[in-house]
């Protein structure tokens, strides 16, 4: 039986910086030595709204990158879309505000032991964890190609410094305001052949992940995806975040995406049963 990430702890940690980047906020948080235990794919659960908050649940955010610096023991970066009550509150917090966090949580992207050619596909803020992942893969000698999509250009998150670890970066927007017009999944089939891709890593809306699976299903390409289901606890005790997953025998069971995920083997997710009665 899967267990909660064994490094998970609850801490209070200060915001070091909070900058607007396109339609997102980039938050840097001082988490000290914990940064070494955070792997690409892991997430953090944050309490929002302060002491008297009417939001009783934490929100999950992908840990976009970690780094250690001389000034701060270690930091993590989050990319937050100000959307509803919680994320808007978070984006409004300034430097110095101390956040209540539980981290690192969830599974991490599997890193191949040998250099392979990989394609990283991100939708919206889903690109956030891909840059940290790219660094790790690039350091392993993998060729890293990246494909980012969003409804519009302002929702593309692709920081300058992130591109260092990426061999190529392609952008697709539905309104054509940046890069190619169209869906991020449109070019994947061709890219797999052209670039001889061995593994696809993906993060974004469930529909995007399912579309990628449809493409990789009958190929030899592995698909590691970070799923996103509404999570009440993030630590495996509430059963709200489940995703239908097939085992070897074809039986489908509901696994918790907070501890058996968010990173899952795309081929094992029963995409046609997501949001359906089994």
């Amino acid at each position: 039986m899967t267990q909660i990430n064994r490094n998970a702890v609850a801490i209070h940690a200060p915001i070091i910086s909070n900058k607007r980047v396109g339609q997102y906020n980039q938050l840097i948080i001082d988490i000290g030595d914990l940064s070494r235990l955070c792997k690409p794919g892991n997430f953090v659960a944050i309490k929002l709204g302060g002491q008297s908050s009417n939001m009783i649940l934490r929100r999950a955010f992908a840990i976009s990158r970690t780094s250690s610096s001389a000034t701060f023991g270690g930091t993590m970066e989050l990319i937050v879309a100000p959307y509803g009550q919680g994320s808007t509150w978070l984006c409004a917090q300034s430097e110095g505000v101390v956040l209540d966090l539980i981290l690192p949580l969830g599974t991490a992207f599997g890193i191949p032991t040998e250099p392979v050619k990989v394609l990283l596909v991100g939708g919206g803020y889903g690109s956030a964890p891909l840059f940290g992942l790219a660094e790790v893969l690039y350091a392993r000698g993998c060729r890293v190609d990246m494909l980012l999509g969003a409804s519009t250009g302002a929702k593309i998150y692709a920081p300058m410094e992130g591109k260092r670890s990426v061999n190529s970066l392609r952008i697709h927007t539905e309104d054509g305001s940046m890069g190619q017009m169209g869906r991020v999944t449109d070019p994947i089939g061709a890219l797999i052949n052209d670039l001889d891709i061995g593994v696809i890593y993906s993060c974004g809306p469930m529909a995007m992940l399912a579309a990628i699976d449809a493409i990789t299903k009958d190929s030899n390409v592995l698909h590691q995806c970070a799923v996103e289901e509404a999570m009440a606890c993030g630590v495996g005790i509430c059963m709200t975040c489940v995703v239908p997953v097939t085992d070897g025998t074809g039986a489908v069971s509901m696994l918790r995406s907070c501890i058996d995920g968010p990173v899952m083997d795309g081929a094992r997710v029963a995409w046609d049963k997501v949001g359906k009665t089994l």
């Binding site: 039986m1 909660i4 009783i56 649940l57 289901e229 005790i237 489940v242 069971s253």
Partner: protein
């Protein structure tokens, strides 16, 4: 360290602490064990188990609401056999006190599940979650039907015999909670668990449909605390000798004390663990101090105190 006697009893079961998990809010116990030793709390109330494995409801299964949340899990679980084979031994190994919550779709299913538990060692009590739809009666929730509730408890009692205390868990979504409580006590319940979630709904304005795949869901968290306190107060007033495991929105030691002076012999912490996995430990520690501050020598003295304390009138 305060010298308050913190122990409590539910029926003939004794517990060193009155702070328990709430059914369905602690999974199998393993996950919380990463944050504190399970033997440090009053006991683990396991998620409601049925006779067979269940995959539960489709997602989304949750929606946050002001100071509360809705859930519609649909009793996902491994079924009683796998539960007895895997979960019970783990909890025993962790030296946790165990209250097994059981559920069913028919009166017979409750008895079937209870029968399998009868001979399992290491269980302190059975909580009977009767807030399930009765498939034999148009899906009408057992706990909303005085007759069906009585019959479920009666069946479980006959199956289990007199040894294991039976705690009947009631739904607040009824016109006359006290009469339902009286009914299940007459049928053999040794204690009551109050309250299960309150039926609610949220609409997703992006999709213009109910947020939850199951449309309605159970409301829990601080939003329902006043409903829970009222339920415990009313039932304790009517049945002062029946121990109550009180729950619904408890997030702090003060909330727990409110529940206890309203009439609860113990408290279950559900939703609060979702945002604070060590909530049970914090609440227990602070509750003990609070009892001392308020001048109670024992938890027992505080139970139902709001019914006895000097009326100014």
């Amino acid at each position: 360290m305060t010298s308050v006697d913190f122990s409590t009893t539910l029926g003939n079961a004794w517990f060193a602490s009155p702070v328990f998990t709430a059914s369905g809010c602690a999974s199998s116990g393993r996950e919380l064990a990463q944050f504190f030793p399970l033997r440090d709390i009053g006991g683990v109330v396991t998620k409601s188990v049925m006779s067979r494995p269940r995959t539960g409801r489709p997602t989304p299964r949750m929606a946050e609401t002001p100071s509360g949340m809705l859930n519609s899990i649909g009793l996902q679980g491994p079924g009683i056999d796998a539960f007895i084979a895997k979960d019970i031994p783990y909890l025993i190994e962790e030296k946790a006190r165990i209250i097994v919550s059981i559920a069913g779709e028919t009166i017979e299913e409750y008895s079937t599940v209870a029968r399998k538990l009868r001979s399992v060692a290491g269980i302190s009590a059975i909580e009977v979650n009767i807030s399930c739809p009765n498939v034999e009666n148009r899906g009408l929730v057992f706990a909303c039907d005085p007759d069906a509730s009585r019959r479920v408890i009666d069946g479980v009692k006959r199956t289990v015999g007199g040894e294991l205390p039976i705690i009947a868990k009631l739904s607040p979504d009824v016109t006359d909670l006290v009469s339902i409580a009286r009914g299940v006590v007459d049928a053999g319940a040794d204690a009551l668990a109050l309250i299960n979630t309150v039926l609610g709904m949220a609409i997703n304005l992006e999709t213009m449909r109910p947020y939850l795949a199951g449309k309605t869901g159970g409301l829990s968290g601080p939003a329902i605390k006043p409903i829970a306190i009222r339920a415990v107060y009313q039932v304790h007033e009517a049945l002062p000798k029946i121990p109550i495991l009180g729950m619904g929105g408890i997030a702090t030691a003060k909330d727990a004390l409110e529940m206890i002076v309203a009439g609860a012999s113990g408290v279950s912490i559900g939703t609060a663990s979702f945002s604070n996995p060590t909530a049970l430990i914090t609440i227990a520690t602070e509750l003990k101090e609070l009892l001392a501050t308020k001048g109670f020598a024992s938890l027992r003295d505080a139970i139902g105190f709001a019914h006895r304390s000097g009326q100014v009138d």
